[in-house]
């Protein structure tokens, strides 16, 4: 594994811990006999920062030859091979985008219509051919959810202007 990846993740964690601690300053620590709401977050946040720093230090200390070799692999890439090696990423990213649109739609159009469209689109995105099967699947799962969750469990889903 590229050590650059390791360093990246440690840095992100460090940053997360630091922001968390900064935010925690807002909450009182009080005295030791009656610790306030800021104490526990302070302890775990500090633990995270220490651990992440330790991981970072370990990776930075790695034998130079090894790190250089790994770095070579990491930096020499031009754009095309980079894109090629990360081609698998396109689909999850698209999926996440579809998901976000879906969740935004639920609020305006209502749960069932959005879900109906979401299932069709996501199965098409994953490579389903034709329209009949995805539509049938989507109708099926919607009916199933309606009877199980609305008719039986009486869960109320967000409704839109249509349904």
């Amino acid at each position: 594994m590229a050590s650059r990846k390791e360093i990246e993740s440690s840095l992100v964690l460090l940053l997360f811990g630091a922001i968390f601690l900064l935010y925690d300053l807002k909450y009182p620590l009080d005295q030791r006999a009656n610790p306030g709401p800021g104490v526990f977050p302070l302890i775990v946040g500090a633990a995270l920062v220490i651990l992440a720093a330790w991981l970072l230090a370990q990776d930075a200390r790695k034998p130079k030859a090894q790190a250089a070799k790994e770095n070579d692999e990491g930096t020499k890439k031009s754009l095309r091979p980079f894109l090629q090696s990360n081609r698998g990423e396109a689909k999850p990213l698209l999926m996440i985008a579809v998901f976000i649109v879906y969740l935004l739609m639920v609020r305006w159009v209502g749960f069932f219509i959005s879900t109906f469209l979401f299932v069709i689109f996501s199965s098409k995105l994953m490579g389903a051919k034709g329209w009949r099967k995805p539509v049938a699947l989507s109708a099926g799962i919607n009916l199933f959810c309606y009877f199980l969750f609305v008719a039986w469990i009486k869960l109320s889903f967000p409704r839109g202007f249509l349904f």
Partner: protein, 503 residues
């Protein structure tokens, strides 16, 4: 406990509602074990809103059914298609798939099911004896003891999960940090909610679990190239293991049951560890050592028994102390809390119907799974071939409903999506999601017990280790924290010495 406990537990489990709940749970569990994309923890989280309709006893029986049903289902796909449905079945692929290629798939499946049944029953009996005893002694536990115990859990968990101890610890810390969102458990001060009303009650762990184990898994499957699965056929006639195979399996099943149960008591991914430990043990002890890797039945019988026994063993800290150390038991705890039941030393006294009902359902569920799985094994194996492009959208919709149904607000669904994205990235960077979920659930217990201890001792830090139980726990913590480093140090010295003498 005594005969009365066993009898009453079975009577509760045989009530029609509970019987049905157990059956449905076992079927869902088997399906989840077979299908990729939805682990047992996520599936249980999804079902929780449904169980609220059923009431606590039947609801928890259903959740427990999913829990051990997935153990059965996971082994089916390991043997037939070399794809473990859940992590505890990874070891089974080694010998199980090799056996299937030799044409002994049926025998491997049968032995796995029988081993699971024997081990499951063994662990239930042990659970029945141990849990009340532990629950009674747990009554002596005050906040200081609880705090020490959770710290021990955190340390052990980080020692036992994943490849990197530091990374597991980091994930636990992130979980603990997330657990501080919302009203604080002692004073009720609102923290880290950023003015969002929906965040006041804290981050829904159901949303986080479905995100990390459901949505993230779907993203990974989408990213992976689709490979056609090579399904080996099983005929019903082949399901009978030969007499020799049975004879060779008896000892591994017995050893796996005991080993698995003991490992189940420890915090951490007990079922997976138990399976690996048992495989290692069988390979060392077997008379047919040369067959290992080419389909040795011991390598199926031992681990399959061990992971089921561990699933039972892991129920002990949950039912008697109220502390979950695996994602699945964490979800079970969450389910209990939603039903208004607080697991812990008082559960047996306050809600004996729930306590014994869940234990009784273990007997029943194991029997059902044995009857269900052997004839239907071909059917379950075929399900694996459902194309992800049809399965994954359904999984995603179920995740959305599960996250939404918990509190009925969309904020939780956004949390789930966030957890899914983070979980997907975590996988790429070799961070395990399980410790995070456990941290999220243990967080409030840890914080409350720490602050209560300090209040009781009037700010005196020694209150943390004043009682003999606490002192013992802290000593164990110290040992478990230092031991891995000591072993590592000694090993590096041992390898350095011969090198020196060479030069």
């Amino acid at each position: 406990m005594d005969g009365q406990g066993i009898l009453s537990s079975l009577l509760i489990a045989f009530q029609p509602v509970n019987f049905l709940a157990c059956f449905i749970g076992a079927v869902i569990g088997t399906l989840v074990g077979v299908l990729p994309g939805l682990g047992p923890a996520a599936a249980m989280a999804l079902v929780i809103p449904m169980t609220l309709k059923l009431g606590p006893t039947a609801g928890l029986i259903m959740l427990a059914g999913i829990y051990y049903g997935s153990m059965y289902g996971g082994s089916t796909t390991s043997i037939l298609v070399n794809v473990p449905g859940e992590p505890a079945s990874v070891v089974t692929t080694l010998e199980g798939y090799a056996m299937a290629r030799k044409g002994r798939a049926g025998a491997a499946l049968a032995i796995a099911a029988i081993g699971s049944f024997v081990a499951g029953t063994f662990s239930v009996i042990a659970l029945q004896f141990f849990a009340p005893v532990l629950a009674r002694s747990a009554l002596a536990f005050g906040p200081a003891e609880y705090f020490a115990l959770t710290v021990l859990g955190v340390i052990l968990l980080s020692n036992l999960t994943g490849k990197s101890r530091a990374k597991s610890l980091i994930m636990i810390m992130v979980g603990l940090m997330l657990s501080t969102v919302g009203f604080d458990p002692v004073g009720g001060v609102e923290r880290f909610s950023f003015g969002l009303e929906s965040a006041q009650g804290g981050i829904s762990f159901i949303a986080v679990t479905t995100g990390l184990f459901g949505v993230a898994e779907v993203f990974s499957i989408i990213a992976a190239k689709e490979e056609p699965l090579d399904l080996l056929p099983v005929r019903f006639r082949e399901l009978y293991p030969s007499r020799k195979e049975i004879k060779r399996s008896v000892a591994p099943i017995a050893r796996g049951s005991v080993l698995g149960f003991l490992i189940g008591l420890l915090p951490g991914p007990a079922a997976t560890m138990a399976a690996f430990a048992s495989y290692g043990m069988e390979r060392r002890l077997s008379k047919h050592r040369n067959e290992f890797g080419q389909g040795a039945i011991e390598g199926v019988a031992g681990p399959e028994s061990a992971n089921n026994a561990a699933a039972g063993g892991a129920m002990i800290p949950l039912l008697s102390l109220g502390l979950p150390f695996t994602p699945t038991t964490a979800v079970l705890l969450g389910g209990m809390l939603l039903h208004g039941i607080t697991p812990g030393p008082l559960l047996l006294r306050d809600r004996p119907d729930v306590f014994w009902g869940v234990i009784g359902s273990f007997y029943l569920g194991n029997m059902m799974l044995l009857i269900l799985n052997l004839p239907l094994v071909g059917f379950f194996a075929k399900i694996v071939r459902i194309a992800p492009r049809y399965l994954m959208p359904v999984v995603l919709v179920l995740c959305v409903i599960g996250a939404y149904g918990d509190n009925g607000n969309l904020f939780d669904v956004w949390v789930m999506l966030g957890a899914g994205i983070v979980g997907y990235i975590m996988r790429k960077y070799n961070y395990e999601p399980a410790p995070l979920v456990v941290g999220l659930v243990l967080g409030p217990v840890m914080e409350r017990s720490l602050r209560q201890t300090l209040i009781i001792s009037r700010g005196n830090m020694s209150g943390l280790w004043d009682s003999p139980i606490c002192l013992a726990l802290w000593l164990i913590i110290l040992l478990t924290a230092i031991l891995p480093f000591m072993i590592g140090y000694l090993r590096s010295k041992a390898t350095a010495r011969p090198r020196k003498s060479n030069s």
